[in-house]
C-alpha cells in the first residue's frame, strides 16, 4: 500500500486545479449534467494522473479523456460514440470463444464461471478490455485503491464546503 495520505493530497491538488480551469473557462452557466460531468472528469483525470501513467487503467482513462478534448459541452455525444466504437472494436478483436462442450465436467463449469466474471471485470475497468489476465488482478487492486482515495477526498471536500457555507449554529 502506498502512502495514502500523500496520494490523497496530490489528488486533491490536481483536482482543484482542474476544477478551476473549468470555472474560469466557461463563461456561461453550465447545465446540471455538464457540471457533473466536468467534476467527475476532472476528478478522474486527477486520480489517474496520481498514478503517473504507471498503470494501464490510468493510461486508458487519460487517453479517453484527452480524445474527447478539454471541453465537455457538445462534444460529449461524440466522445461517447467514439469510445463506444473503440470498445466495440476491441471487443471484436477478441472474439469470445464459446466452445460447445458436450460433457460438462466440474472444472469446465468452474472455468466458464470464472471466465464470465473476468470478462465483467474487464468491462468495468477503464481500458480493461485488452488487459492480460495476469495483470488484471493487479490493475483491479490499484484501481480500487485509487477509487477509495478519490471518494474520500471528494467527500471531505463536500463536507468542508458545506461547513463553510453553513457553519455550525
Amino acid at each position: 500500500m502506498r502512502n495514502q495520505r500523500s496520494v490523497k493530497q496530490e489528488f486533491l491538488r490536481k483536482w482543484i486545479t482542474g476544477l478551476r480551469r473549468y470555472s474560469c473557462d466557461e463563461k456561461k452557466n453550465m447545465s446540471f449534467l455538464e457540471r457533473k460531468k466536468a467534476i467527475k472528469l476532472s476528478a478522474d483525470i486527477a486520480m489517474a494522473s496520481t498514478r503517473d501513467k504507471t498503470t494501464r487503467w490510468s493510461q486508458a482513462l487519460i487517453a479517453n479523456a484527452s480524445s474527447s478534448g478539454d471541453t465537455l459541452t457538445g462534444s460529449s455525444k461524440n466522445n461517447s460514440s467514439r469510445s463506444r466504437k473503440k470498445m466495440l472494436m476491441m471487443r471484436r478483436r477478441r472474439p469470445k470463444v464459446k466452445s460447445a462442450k458436450k460433457e460438462m465436467s466440474a472444472s469446465c463449469i468452474a472455468k466458464r464461471l470464472a471466465e464470465k466474471r473476468t470478462r465483467k471485470l474487464k468491462n468495468l475497468l477503464p481500458g480493461g478490455e485488452s488487459i492480460d489476465e495476469g495483470c488484471l488482478v493487479e490493475e483491479t487492486l490499484d484501481y480500487i485503491e485509487s477509487l477509495r482515495a478519490q471518494i474520500e477526498v471528494m467527500r471531505y471536500l463536500v463536507t468542508a464546503s458545506q461547513l463553510i457555507i453553513n457553519p455550525y449554529p
Partner: protein, 405 residues
C-alpha cells in the same frame, strides 16, 4: 522353416521396391513374425555383440548375425533388419514404423516379457527427449533392467533410428503407460542402470546420458510451459489474496465468488464517485433542503429516493425559489433531467401521502431532523418534493443508501 521363408520373401520385396511401403501386409507379416518369434525364443542369454553407435545404414543387419552363433535368433535378426529397412525407406512415413513398433510392443507386453519390455522401451525412450517419456521409461525399467536379450537389442537398434520424432515417442507412451505405470522415485538412478545394461546403443546424437532434469514433483510436469503456467497462477493467487483484504466481505474461498465480490465493489465505488460528483454541484452553491410543489404530469409514480444527504444545509428563500423554478422548467422539458437535478440536490420526488407518512414517522423518531412539509409552490399539489435533512453533523456518514440505477 516357414517363418524364415516368409521373412525372406518380404525382405526381397522390400529390397526390390524400396520406395513402396506396403504397410498393411507387412504389418501382418510382422505380426505373425513376432508371434512366432516369441513362441520360439527361449530365455535370452546376455548379449555378446557390441551395439554402440551402429549407423542406420541400409546394410542388411542380418548378415552380421552369421558371426554370432544364435541359430534361434534368425527370426529376430531378420525382423530387426526388416524393421530397419522400414525405417530407412519409410522415413517420411515414420508413423508406419511407429505403428509397427506399437504393435510389436503390445505383443511383447501381452506376452509378459518384462525384461524385453524394459530393454526395448528403455532404448526407445532414450532416443526421445520427452520428460514424460523419461519418467515412464524409468518406470518401465524397474522390473528387470538387467536382462537385455540379444534379440531385443537387435530390434531396438533398428527402432532407435526410426524414433527421431518426439511425436512418435509421445504417441507410444500413451499406449504404454497404461499397463505399467509407476511414479518414478528416482529416475536418474534408473536411467543409469539402464545405461549400464545396454551400453547406450543409440546411433542418434541425442543425450542418452542421464540429463540433469529438474525433478518433477508428484503429478506435475517439468516442461517450461507448465512451469511458466504455474508461476503465473501463483502470482495471480497472491494478488487475489491482497485483494481479499481490500474488498469487504471477502472471506470467500472460491475464485468465482471472489470475482463477484470484486465486481460488485468496483461498481459500488464507481457509483459513489458519480454521486459525489453530482452532489458537489450543490455544495458550492449552498444546496438547500428544498420543498416545493411541482406540476405533475403523471400521477405520483416516480419515487427516486436519494439518500445522499451531504447536500443538506439550511435553506435560504432565494435558493429555494430558484431551485423550484429550475425544477419546474426541467420538468416541462424532460422528466429525466429533472430527476437528476433533484438527485443532485439530495431530493426526491414522491407522492404526498407517502411524504406525510414519512414526516410523521420521522418526527417521532428523530425530532432533531427538521422536515419541511410541502408548502405552496407554483403548481398544483399533485406531488410534493420533500427532503429529509439529517443534521449537519451527520453529513459525514452518508452515501450508504445510494440508490442503484
Amino acid at each position: 522353416m516357414q517363418p524364415c521363408s516368409r521373412e525372406m520373401q518380404s525382405l526381397n520385396s522390400l529390397f526390390n521396391n524400396q520406395q513402396q511401403i506396403q504397410m498393411d501386409p507387412a504389418t501382418s507379416q510382422e505380426d505373425d513374425f513376432i508371434k512366432q518369434m516369441l513362441s520360439t525364443i527361449p530365455p535370452p542369454p546376455p548379449p555378446s555383440w557390441n551395439l554402440d553407435h551402429t549407423p542406420p545404414n541400409p546394410k542388411p543387419y542380418w548378415l552380421d548375425n552369421d558371426n554370432v552363433a544364435f541359430p534361434n535368433y534368425d527370426d529376430p535378426s531378420t525382423l530387426a533388419s526388416k524393421f530397419r529397412n522400414h525405417q530407412i525407406t519409410a522415413t517420411s512415413s515414420s508413423k508406419a514404423a511407429a505403428a509397427a513398433l506399437l504393435l510389436q510392443q503390445q505383443l511383447l507386453m501381452t506376452r509378459g516379457l518384462s525384461g524385453a519390455d524394459s530393454a526395448i522401451l528403455h532404448h526407445m525412450f532414450d532416443s526421445s527427449q520427452n520428460d514424460v517419456v523419461d519418467a515412464s521409461s524409468s518406470s518401465f525399467k524397474s522390473p528387470n533392467p538387467s536382462s537385455a536379450d540379444g534379440s531385443v537389442q537387435a530390434l531396438y537398434d533398428g527402432f532407435t533410428g526410426s524414433l527421431q520424432g518426439a511425436a512418435l515417442a509421445s504417441n507410444q507412451t500413451h499406449h504404454f503407460q497404461h499397463p505399467q505405470v509407476q511414479t518414478s522415485s528416482n529416475p536418474n538412478q534408473m536411467q543409469g542402470q539402464g545405461q549400464g545394461t545396454s551400453q547406450g546403443g543409440n546411433p542418434n546424437p541425442n543425450p542418452g546420458q542421464p540429463k540433469q532434469r529438474v525433478r518433477a514433483r508428484r503429478g506435475q510436469a517439468t516442461d517450461p510451459h507448465s512451469i511458466a503456467e504455474r508461476l503465473r497462477r501463483e502470482r495471480i493467487a497472491e494478488r487475489m489474496k491482497a485483494l481479499q483484504e481490500l474488498v469487504p466481505n471477502a472471506n470467500k474461498t472460491d475464485k468465482a465468488s471472489m470475482l463477484d465480490e470484486i465486481i460488485d465493489y468496483v461498481k459500488f465505488l464507481q457509483l459513489q464517485v458519480k454521486v459525489l460528483s453530482m452532489s458537489r454541484l450543490g455544495g458550492a452553491a449552498a444546496v438547500a433542503p428544498l420543498v416545493a410543489d411541482i406540476n405533475s404530469e403523471g400521477g405520483g409514480d416516480c419515487v427516486q429516493t436519494n439518500g445522499n444527504q451531504t447536500a443538506g444545509a439550511s435553506s435560504s428563500n432565494d435558493s429555494l425559489t430558484m431551485t423550484e423554478q429550475q425544477v419546474a422548467k426541467l420538468m416541462e422539458e424532460d422528466m429525466g433531467s429533472a430527476m437528476q437535478y433533484l438527485q443532485g440536490k439530495g431530493l426526491c420526488l414522491m407522492p404526498i401521502s407517502l411524504a406525510t407518512a414519512i414526516s410523521t414517522a420521522t418526527a417521532t423518531c428523530h425530532p432533531r431532523n427538521p422536515i419541511m412539509n410541502p408548502t405552496d409552490g407554483p403548481s398544483s399539489p399533485g406531488m410534493s418534493v420533500l427532503t429529509v435533512q439529517s443534521a449537519n453533523g451527520d453529513a459525514v456518514k452518508d452515501a450508504t443508501s445510494v440508490s442503484k440505477p
